[in-house]
């Protein structure tokens, strides 16, 4: 399936772009994170980061679907 990704903060630095379209069979954000970032990301992202699907917070094991927009959210430090 095709997914839309937006990248911010350390995920953007690791990926080198703001946004991209990927073809993947990763069924969940957790699998997608491992596929895209591998060892470039600390293990267990569910322990230190959040994920959004279609502009809403989502679980790391939610089922991804064709055309979803996925964003990995490193801890933020607004203000």
């Amino acid at each position: 399936m095709t997914l839309h990704l937006l990248h911010f903060s350390v995920f953007r630095d690791a990926r080198g772009c703001d946004a991209e379209r990927v073809e993947t069979d990763a069924p969940t954000p957790l699998a997608l994170c491992a596929e895209l970032f591998g060892a470039a990301v600390p293990a267990q992202p569910e322990a230190w980061a959040r994920v959004a699907v279609n502009d809403a917070f989502a679980g790391w094991d939610v089922r991804l679907a064709e055309g979803d927009t996925v964003v990995f959210l490193a801890p933020s430090a607004g203000g």
Binding site: F8, D13, F37, R50, A52, F57, G78, G79
Partner: protein
């Protein structure tokens, strides 16, 4: 809109006027406003400037949710906030949070709570530029490039 993002410098007077306009006329007896400014140091390092990057869609919806929750939790007439994005120089305002209430205690409590929640929950990332080394994302674990 009770939570906004702005790529332009924040105008505290305009923010304050917008907050008071959200409250019923004559109902607010106390207005508390917080402004977070870009400091020249952080964790012992000399800071030259900052960047804020926001995930706009989710930042706006989560920020509005924080404002709604503040109104439910505290006896306030209005709560709102604006967060800067982009490149900020020293002394510029990064975030403005205001609360208006009949009584001052609720205004202080709501402003402080909303600020803490915005910082903890709203997806906005800060990158500090240092005098003595490369820029870094703040409060996030390092990821190998």
């Amino acid at each position: 809109m009770t939570f906004l993002l702005s790529a332009e410098p924040l105008d505290a007077a305009a923010c304050r006027a917008a907050l008071v306009a959200l409250a019923p006329p004559g109902a607010a007896g106390g207005v508390v406003a917080f402004e977070g400014l870009v400091r020249n140091h952080a964790e012992g390092r000399s800071v030259e400037s900052l960047e804020y990057h926001a995930y706009d869609a989710l930042a706006l919806s989560e920020g509005s949710r924080v404002m709604d929750e503040a109104r439910e939790r505290f006896a306030v007439e209005a709560v709102c906030a604006v967060h800067r994005t982009g490149h900020l120089a020293l002394g510029e305002t990064a975030v403005w949070v205001g609360a208006a209430a009949a009584h001052r205690q609720a205004a202080f409590d709501a402003c402080r709570w909303a600020l803490d929640e915005v910082k903890a929950r709203v997806p906005i990332w800060k990158r500090e530029h240092y005098a003595d080394g490369p820029a870094e994302w703040v409060a996030v674990p390092r990821i190998a490039p």
